[in-house]
């Protein structure tokens, strides 16, 4: 199981909590201090995106965040349960303008994540999506210097 797991109702006010917890666990895992700001921002972007997807799809399930400490690396997985349709399908239904704006914001969030994190994987399927981000951690010996 993950080192720390977090589930929160898909509400914007909880994203800050996820950021704080992720940064705290990342620091403990040995992620470089200089990178913690990036961890905070990246996990915030991933969670904001998941909250938006749950809200626009009327999904009551919580957003899931897994913070995983492994040898020499630290990973964060943010999972949503929104069915990821192709953009063209999403527009169908009438609210084309709204869908466009949402798609644009969604892309901006992903752009920030991919600009910040070297090791990022985005997987999507009919039952939801997952963003996995990984950072290297300093070995204990180096951390003492």
């Amino acid at each position: 199981m993950a080192t720390v797991e977090l589930r929160f109702s898909a509400l914007p006010e909880h994203v800050r909590t996820a950021r704080l917890v992720a940064a705290a666990v990342a620091r403990r895992a040995g992620v470089d201090e200089a990178v913690l700001d990036e961890v905070r921002l990246a996990v915030g972007e991933a969670c904001s995106r998941a909250v938006g997807l749950h809200q626009s799809n009327d999904i009551t399930a919580p957003v899931k965040v897994a913070l995983i400490e492994e040898e020499k690396q630290f990973s964060i997985e943010v999972g949503d349960e929104a069915p990821h349709a192709a953009p063209a399908e999403r527009v169908a239904g009438g609210a084309a303008a709204d869908a466009d704006v949402e798609a644009e914001e969604d892309e901006m969030g992903l752009a920030v994540i991919s600009g910040l994190v070297d090791d990022v994987e985005v997987t999507t399927g009919a039952s939801g999506g997952l963003i996995r981000m990984t950072w290297p951690t300093a070995p204990p010996a180096a951390a003492l210097v």
Partner: protein, 113 residues
Amino acid sequence: MDLSLSTRTVGDRTVVEVGGEIDVYTAPKLREQLVELVNDGNFHLVVDMEGVDFLDSTGLGVLVGGLKRVRAHEGSLRLVCNQERILKIFRITGLTKVFPIHTSVEEAVAATD
């Protein structure tokens, strides 16, 4: 930390001082403030971000929205920011080319280009 907002007028510019965290939860407050200012006829805005601790893409979206609104009235939206971690987000998203970013409110207020 929550978002704090205060506005003041300097000459023909309206300075919006923002403090705290601009994220998916607080960004709507900033959006409301910018929309209100533009609706009240303030088309030359300076957003002072020196007190901002955190900014994400939702916040960027609100600033871009503000810029579109003032431009519709031939206005301007300038930013004041010296914090590297905030500037980095503007660079990653290419928005340094979109917003004039100044090092002080005085400089932003005096700028005309």
